[in-house]
Amino acid sequence: MEFKHQRVIVTGATKGLGKAIALSFAGKGAWVAANYSSDDQNAAATESELSSLTQKHLLLKADVTSKNDVDKMIKSVVEQWEHVDILVNNAGIIRDKLLMFLDEDDWDRVIDVNLKGTYLCSRTILKTMIARKFGRIINITSPSAFTGRAGQTNYSASKGGIISFTKSLSKEISRLGITVNAVSPGFISTPMTESLNQDIKCDLLSRISMRRLGQPEDVAEAVLFLASAKAGYITGQVLGVDGGLI
């Protein structure tokens, strides 16, 4: 899969899955605009890695929950690169607590970043994609949206919302040459999963048919596939990348 000269925006792109996705696109010749919200140190490190893969990269500090920030971010990319071909709505947070202890701010923040951010970025990018009658929007959801998970009512609701959003938006704009899909990563090897104690790790692994954690690159490959010409007839779908999560 080659993405030469294709312009990509990845939100939440300076760590974890988002970073792997951004670097994978850059490694395939794409122009990559990496969004982040606050962590300047990780952003600088990501920019350094991007620059070793592609000369065409941008670092975009913007809060995806702010319409003003998102407007400015997309405008800035379009002004510099003329258009955007691919949007990956990856920015997401967790604030896990049992519902009894989940206060309004925990609820609002998770819904805002995960779901409202997806709405704002998708809505703002539509005009440039409609004008060219081409676009790929890929949203990151979670198995938690399907199965639920104790302590994740806010997160599950936001990720379930992303699936419904993906399916509805695909019905609005697929006719215009824009596909909308979601990727649902299972348990992926990250600093967070690495730091879990052995018992929890064993429990996690027992729920994965492949008996191993996924790698960020596994998720990135699925995103790149859905963004590629090979996936031109796929829209409104959720692709699980979870090693056969039980």
């Binding site: 539509l126 409609i130 004008a131 609005e172 704009i173 006719r175 215009l176």
Partner: protein, 96 residues
């Protein structure tokens, strides 16, 4: 473009061509579209997704943004309604 906008007749003809080109309507010529006929359902048969493409085309060509769905519905009522909407938008932009 100013000359076209200031002439209702020329603007209607321009808009008919724009609609046909933007939506890649086959077997339809500007002469087939009446100025007062509805662009949707019983008229030209367009739908809300077609309107999205027209919204983007109008912004690109005339620099007039349609942000509100109700405004869009009124503007796309007919070719003539769209011409009036664009002329009003153009006049407002000149005043500002």
């Amino acid at each position: 473009m100013e000359e076209i906008i200031n002439s209702n007749g020329k603007l209607c003809e321009f808009l008919k061509k724009m609609i046909i080109d933007t939506l890649r309507l086959e077997d339809i010529t500007p002469g087939d579209i009446e100025n007062e006929a509805s662009l949707f359902k019983d008229g030209l048969g367009l739908d809300s997704i077609d309107a999205l493409e027209l919204v983007v085309a109008i912004e690109k060509i005339f620099n007039i943004i349609i942000e509100d769905e109700d405004v869009g519905k009124k503007a796309f009522a007919s070719v003539n309604a769209l011409a009036v909407f664009i002329q009003d938008g153009y006049q407002r932009a000149l005043k500002n």
